[in-house]
């Protein structure tokens, strides 16, 4: 099935109009030396019936949350995706369109992006959001670049309690521009503010703080931001959008740029992608923000409409002077986020956050009651927490999997010192029954 439109007869007619005799002649500009002569080593073409079977077989080799109870987090969470959302982002008017370069033919996606941008500002307490970035990690890297563009300093301080993969991405990105990355150590699961003070100096462009952090623990946002401000540095917050249903928004506690992974806002798990990178900032930094921005305007008759605006920041106009190289972004995931927040609304988001909070704490308490297990850090947390256990995490997870449970993250993978430590996440989707079953399996070990 090649989906091509022209029949052999039409091809003939068209070639005649072009003045050629064969399809081969169309490719005459390709030098003989590089023309592909042999055939490619590709799998055999499949009909749709066969394709369905083939992919179903692959899918069946995976253990998905539709059959397993998932307690994994670490930056990606099993939050509920409303059915209405799936249907709406499935409208081909949205998903088979390109970036809305031609505004008059793209008002649907443009207004939706404008709404998305507004949602992000409302959620984060910031004034400007762009139209989306790839994911939370690259959004963070873009924020770091942005800070450097703003204050022309060359060092980024990042909390050690950041997602380890975000730290890794930061490192890769910053290396490109010869910027310095310094990691502020944590103390019992939380940034050590005394250490932070030591790291601050006139080269520091920005301080990056996760809220809550990789261990699920709340950081001292206000103090951190204030320390940064006093040093003439910016404060970049990396947040969990669901937590913002109950937690004070970074705009309130002094962050200058806010980024995060928006996968929780209606994108689902997808084995890690696509998710959604969001970035928002204060008004004064608007012209430094990377990526696309939808803005409101009017047509000749005075009717309201939306366009991509401030494109002079972008690569297709400014080329090497652009604020970023990003071109395609995650518009459809942004649309999903807008729809998600529309459906949940004020009450739904708050209740979702509360369910996560309540259930996570219930699980943490139940586990802490099991002899040999304990909560690694005794600090307030949101929906994720670290337990230390008497057994290797791999052993626990094997046992859990047998019981149709996908257990937590083995922290040793990222922090060799955290032996037998597991990061567990609980979302609104988990039931008491599932939680109790997990506890029961742990007890049985």
């Amino acid at each position: 099935m090649d989906y091509s439109g022209n029949t052999p007869l039409q091809q003939k007619k068209m070639l005649a109009e072009i003045g050629l005799r064969s399809l081969d002649e169309l490719f005459q500009s390709i030098p003989e030396g590089v023309k592909l002569k042999s055939s490619l080593n590709l799998p055999k073409q499949l009909s749709e019936i066969e394709l369905v079977r083939e992919l179903k077989d692959l899918a069946d080799k995976n253990k998905s949350t539709s059959d397993y109870s998932l307690f994994l987090g670490g930056g990606y969470y099993d939050h509920f995706v409303p059915s209405a959302l799936k249907y709406l982002i499935g409208r081909p008017e949205f998903y088979t369109a390109y970036t809305p370069y031609q505004a008059e033919a793209s008002q649907g996606i443009l207004q939706a992006i404008y709404e998305y941008q507004t949602f992000i500002t409302l959620l984060t307490g910031m004034e400007v959001s762009n139209a989306s970035l790839y994911d939370g990690a690259t959004a963070l890297a873009e924020a770091a670049f942005m800070a450097v563009r703003i204050n022309k300093r060359n060092t980024i301080l990042a909390a050690q309690t950041l997602h380890p993969e975000y730290l890794a991405v930061l490192k890769t990105y910053l290396a490109g521009l010869d910027l310095t990355l310094r990691v502020i150590p944590h103390n019992e699961g939380k940034v050590d503010l005394k250490e932070l003070k030591n790291y601050l100096n006139k080269d520091v462009s920005a301080v990056i703080l996760p809220q809550p952090n990789f261990f699920g623990i709340f950081e001292e946002g206000e103090k951190t931001a204030s320390l940064a401000r006093k040093n003439g540095s910016l404060c970049i917050a990396s947040v969990d959008p669901i937590s913002l249903g109950i937690i004070s928004p970074p705009g309130k506690w002094g962050a200058d740029i806010v980024v995060g992974e928006g996968q929780a806002l209606g994108s689902g798990l997808n084995f890690g992608g696509p998710g959604l990178g969001f970035i928002a900032c204060r008004m004064e930094f608007m012209r430094k923000i990377p990526g696309r921005l939808a803005g409101k305007t009017r047509d000749e008759r005075g009717k309201t409409g939306y366009v991509l605006t401030l494109q002079t920041r972008e690569q297709h106009i400014r080329r090497e002077k652009a604020t970023s190289n990003i071109c395609s972004n995650h518009a459809l995931s942004a649309l999903a986020a807008a729809i998600y927040l529309s459906l949940l609304g004020k009450n739904g988001l708050r209740k979702t956050a509360e369910l996560c909070l309540g259930k996570a704490h219930y699980l943490s308490e139940k586990i802490a009651e099991i002899p040999g297990y304990e909560l690694k850090f005794q600090k307030p947390f949101f929906k994720e927490f670290v337990i230390s256990s008497p057994h290797p995490v791999s052993k626990i997870n094997r046992k859990l999997l047998e019981n149709k449970i996908i257990g937590g993250l083995d922290l040793e993978r990222f922090y060799p010192v955290f032996k037998n430590c597991m990061l567990l996440a609980v979302t609104e989707k988990r039931t008491k029954e599932e939680i109790d079953k997990l506890v029961k399996v742990l007890k049985s070990l």
Binding site: L51, F271, G273, P274, H316, E354
Partner: protein, 481 residues
Amino acid sequence: MSKLIFEKGACGRNGISLPEMDVPFQGVGGLIPKNLLRKELPLPELSEPEVVRHYTNLSKLNFSVDGNFYPLGSCTMKYNPKINEELAALPGFTQLHPYQGEESVQGALELMYNLEKNLSEIVGMERMTLQPAAGAHGELTGILMLRAFFKDKGESRKKIIIPDASHGTNPASAVLGGFEIVEVATDNSGGIDIEALKKVMNEEAACLMLTNPSTLGLFEENILEVSSIVHKAGGLLYGDGANLNALLGKARFGDMGFDLVHLNLHKTFAAPHGGGGPGGGPLGVKKQLIPYLPVPLVDRQGGRFFLNYDLPGSIGRMRSFYGNFLVMLKAYVYILSLGEEGLRKAAENAVLNANYLRAKLKDYYELPYKKICLHEVIFSGSRQKAKGVRTLDIAKRLIDFGMHPPTIYFPLNVPEALMIEPTETETKETLDYFIEIMKRIAGEAEENPQLLHQAPHNAPVGRLDEAKAAREIDVAWQASG
């Protein structure tokens, strides 16, 4: 225009029903320090039917491939097969957490492994990273890799050569990788200016970033010479493979001398563009660059697939997790649906369609490069400009006939550029209709320029004021108004 979602709804409405708290819960206050608590959550309150009607009606204001001819040049707006979407929605794929144990995601890993193999074969590269989320992201990945490569070789090459016709992401990515840009001109025949290239391709230049076929829709005919110039000077040849659609089964980047190349799964491999993304921008490399690929790669040991983090020379990570998995899946299904034969047919029809438009419209619009093109044809609106009609006017007028405009004012080296990429999934009938309308517009440009200046006339909005948008910035709704 329709009301914003924030202007709808009413206090107390709900668009969702959530389960009751089924565990003992002492309330938020008992678990979170007071100073961390949120006071106001200024989100709208809507019912599900309201939200559905809002976004359903918004969607209707959009042109899309499913509804319209969409010949946006350089974007390869081909049909996105429905089976790809259906299979990408299987719970066995969508409901996988990226940190699950490898034994529980063997199907997903196998798919990535196979896709990498297939894409590498199609472009003639040794290995590939599927991590980049889009073309530009693939570019940056490649740039950082070649930087690491030269660093390991102890060479300090600070420049990257880029043709003037290239896509804006090329220089932008190169700069993010710490390089300076050296621009080279396009020669009269639409190829890279060889003499100019020779002048700048020296021991300071790390690489030439070349789009092939170029953004002029032309194959770089001197590619072997170009490659040898670059390599002789110790540089690398980077390929922007955004236009691979023209070459499927016809020629391979590897065979042309490219050392690394990125692809756009959301163009050539029929993954939908989603109104802007998400996409997929895998990067393929020749052997000498493999050590620098980002981690993890998917490898195989016996019958078992695993995530390989053991690449000591790796540039590290380009994003969290493994890339846009569902986009990869769609590309994989696409390759399986078409097979080699189908891929080749796609290229042939894409090129045939572009040339058909070229032949039928060349008497009406200025054709800057008078030769057979590949997947897209570039016209200039210069003749119409002389009558006071800009390419922008022509583009907007097309909207009145239910067709999305081509890419305009790009590439930059063609004045008043109209970059038309019909793709292979459009039929001759659709092209004939487009031709008819383009001829009509050429006539209108002569007889009734005013009509074009004021276009579109039948769209949900009239010509929008972009200057006003940039002047009186309004990028988020505010409760006050």
